[in-house]
Symmetry: D3
Subunit: 240 residues, 6 copies
């Protein structure tokens, strides 16, 4: 079976992390994941949500948005409809939960890191690119806080990366691009840690439902993908 | 290990489906699932979202909301903040996707069925109660449309039910109540079909991440729970 | 003249108050008034609106909403239009004013009781059912605060109940159901106290205007209705 | 008993109707009612709300708003809070209902007249000034439509005017100014027709509840006030 | 060339400032500028925007809105669309900036003066009428604060007035009315100080772009207009 | 006098136009203007605003927004406040007006080109970068429409570019960066055409007002800047 772009079933698209693209953010990276481009910034704020005030613990929040022409046909801005797009709301909650799994909030101290993921161009997998890039931005911000002596202990527990897998025309495959995603029977997003554990599994039967054996194959593919991403993330963070 | 309410690890809370509780809705059911109470109605509308106009195909939409005092401390209404609650938005998208997996839209014809899930009292598992009850309301509406000759072929492909599973204090268990859910390390919602397939898997490591072996145990528990729910649903629909 | 449901002109529909239907609320009642079903909860909050801060005086606020399928054809939720429904806003102001007439705010102390009235099913008279049921929820919350010693003096001055009256096809009658209400020439809502005084009169000539003699007959009918409601309320509160 | 401005209990404040104050509106009047100043315009639109499309019948809508500094201390604009003020919403519904009672919608034909009541300065009684002035603006617009031959039959059935009455310090009185209104025990707004019928009665016990005998006295005062207003309205419309 | 109303190219329309039209505002003026009528009020508030708290410095804010029937065809209120009109937002920012240019914020002290400009009737030039009238309202409020001893030093640095100029059918002219404005090739608003300096220049080529020589002629006309306005303002403020 | 970055008073910062950065947009350019980075896309839509429907004429609309961390400290997204930022609203109106000055709408035909200007990083001059880059995106979209034969006549009348000028510490200078802009006494944005005419002049005395001689010097500097930009734009469009 030929994939849209000639990849084999177990291959990621070319993934490139360009760090330091924003001069103000404490951490930033432009993720170029095939034709999907996401700009991730980490902003350190010396405040926390009300429920944490006075606890000495920090927090990670994420926001996700698409530029109007990141998509094939132009999409109206949320503000013109006065409503946060439902899909964006769901994705930013996922990004936040996934990245919070990587952080020891006592070590972070009573401060907040806001991860902004803005999609400049979308070709499938924007949420997994956002989580994977968001982790890099977060790690760079932490690195900066440690270099400045604001943090003395590293609050990052372990690396987090995410990838999509799916079943298209009956065939399980890794890292769906938009064309594949839009025809997928099953679509799954896996968020994993470098120690081989899951932070999040979200699988949906879009065209049809799926069997446990298919789930197992999707998890196998997801591991292959995230292992490669951990290596790329590590290199990007070290070289930044 | 003792659970909050003395159940064993593989037991559901008592689940009761009271059908026909709304005189206007084409299908309705009050779900009493332990102390979680959700009112589900199915409303048939002779229109479809714009992207389906003229295709002859129908659609299922779901909306989910909590009454202000369905929770331990009163929660403000969305309208007072002019924003749909992010969690509610995510849940109603999940309910809609799950129920759409059960429907053949060509057989439904160009009409829409809106499933409203309003939580009267919440004690954990409101989203799975909404999906499970939403399926009943949907089935009752379909039954009515067929009895009236508006539909000639049954558009329901198979039964859908959902249940939560989770790991609390290191122990996997079925159907978490609120106290358990709020202390869970891992929280997972499973949507299954009567033929034994998955429509949706959403697992989150809240306190910590999880292993593949733990995932397998959670799936096993989820099957036990949904099998019981399929039987209860069937009885409720037949006796309505 | 025959009424829609065979009642005579001076009769209420069957009214049932089921108390204690919500495990979290300090007071709660499900009002089943003919086919009109309203869930009323009273939530005690240890705060007051800004204009009362530091005065030692409390407040009663009310909110009113209809579930989407409480009506014959499904009604969109307010949040989907980003606007509180004008009719709902007017009704919740009326409920709040009416119940405030029953309360001595100095005795209540600097706390707020929020009365939520959510219409599960509507068949006319939802605002009067909300006031009448809202009083019960309020009285139960006060009873609880007194039992717990939080209040030492009863802040309730006297019972409040409300009923609708109207002129349909030229004939004055008590307690209009939806079919009658939608054909009414004159529609009036009366809020009375157990000592025989008025807290609120709202009369509207919908199809036509009305004479003072007609007003007198409507007031007479309203007294008959509220007297019965006071007895039912009293019993429900005592037996709760 | 002395009133704030020396009037006796049965007297209106000086009321002046200055017509033709807006060069674009089909009808307009500036109401100067004591220190309460309301600008009322009637705008004829060749469209109707959706529920009337194709029926050949027209409609009257009203909108009410206060300029920010119409009140003693500046009030924020609704748009800065993204919410229509609850009181304004209730008042504009009352104005609309009251004026619709005056109109034969078949004779008006399938068009809409929008009555805008903007309070330039408020000193009590703004809603009754709006109804009374709104009727004049409406009548002037109708006069114009008839002069232009757009309407051939007069759609106005009879004059409508409104006045407030209330009980202050135990004493019933006509036409409360702000100081009186803010200390009133009972506040009532009466909308009457020139033929002596009621279009609307809205009475509220603010500080305390009221007796039927008090209601009777308030209705008597309201008649005195509206009779004078009918004469002033008539003169203003004829001389315009 | 004949202008719409027979004026010559260098003439203002008749401008009248009626001060003291609002009994509550610290300063108020009704501007009647030809058929353009704007009500300006200045409200003194003993608070400042957050960024000035504790600095001892004050602030001037302006808000601008049009009544629905201030225009030829009725315009919907902002609140009905839940969005501040873009043009209004731009104009109120201009009014605020222009008036702030006149004020020494240290001398004003830590308080805010809110200038509300509400257009009762629009015939072109509403923004320049708002600035010019807003200055008068501001000056009257300052006069009151000084008379009351709340201010000891005058915080007004110098007079500010504004006028529109434009090129219509190729001909530069002063103070465009609506008909001229709607056909203008170039539209320019000039805000000047009594000492002959500019506070703001906003020139737009609507139908076509413009030359530097045309700009020079427009500036010359603007000076003629503002000089007359300074005299009228001064008289209005002194006589108030 | 030394400028923040060592430039002389008549110099632009280094300006780079990277075209074709978005694979979906009909025209796109990343503007790197010193440290100010703006992504401009042109989206062709086969529809027009209601007021142009059926006229055969087209339209240009612009939208402008800043990414949250485009600024030194993170700025909340508009959607979280449910309000379009006032400054953004004003800027997008300016961009739209400026670009419309370049287009013959009859030649464009009944279609709309939407110019989105999203600021990735802001260091002063974002509005002039948006106009200058927006023109390039527009020109590239037009080039594509002509290459595809959708347009047969070029609807672009002439090139449009914009630059900021200002007076800082009494000294007029070209192209202010953020540090200069935040201390400027006078800030002016000039939009010019390649034929040497003005499309828009917006000059504001922020700290102080300005003289006509200063205006003349600012215009001279603006011409120097825009002439260089015309050459750079032309090259970018030709080489794309």
């Amino acid at each position: 079976m030929d994939r849209a772009d000639g990849r084999d079933l177990e291959s990621l698209r070319p993934v490139r992390f360009i760090t330091g693209v924003n001069r103000y953010a404490e951490g930033s990276v432009l993720v170029q994941w095939g034709q999907t481009h996401v700009l991730c910034t980490a902003s350190v704020e010396e405040n926390v949500p009300p429920f944490l005030a006075g606890t000495g613990k920090g927090w990670i929040t994420a926001e996700y948005a698409m530029l109007p022409r990141s998509t094939q046909s132009r999409k109206k801005r949320d503000i013109s409809k006065l409503k946060l797009d439902g899909r964006s709301g769901e994705i930013q909650r996922l990004i936040g939960r996934s990245l919070r799994a990587a952080v020891d909030f006592e070590k972070l101290g009573e401060r907040q890191i806001v991860i902004d993921c803005d999609v400049l161009q979308a070709d499938g997998g924007t949420r997994t690119a956002s989580i994977t890039g968001g982790y890099i931005a977060l790690a760079l911000a932490v690195k900066k806080l440690m270099a400045e002596g604001i943090l003395t202990e590293n609050p990052l527990r372990e690396q987090i990366a995410a990838v999509s897998v799916g079943i298209v025309a009956g065939i399980p495959m890794l890292d769906l691009c938009y064309v594949e995603d839009s025809h997928a029977d099953v679509d799954m997003n896996l968020v994993r840690t470098a120690s081989g554990r899951f932070a999040e599994i979200q699988g949906t039967g879009e065209g049809r439902t799926f069997l446990e054996t298919e789930l197992a194959e999707l998890l196998r593919l997801g591991k292959i993908g995230t292992e490669q991403l951990f290596a790329l993330q590590k290199k990007a963070i070290e070289e930044a």
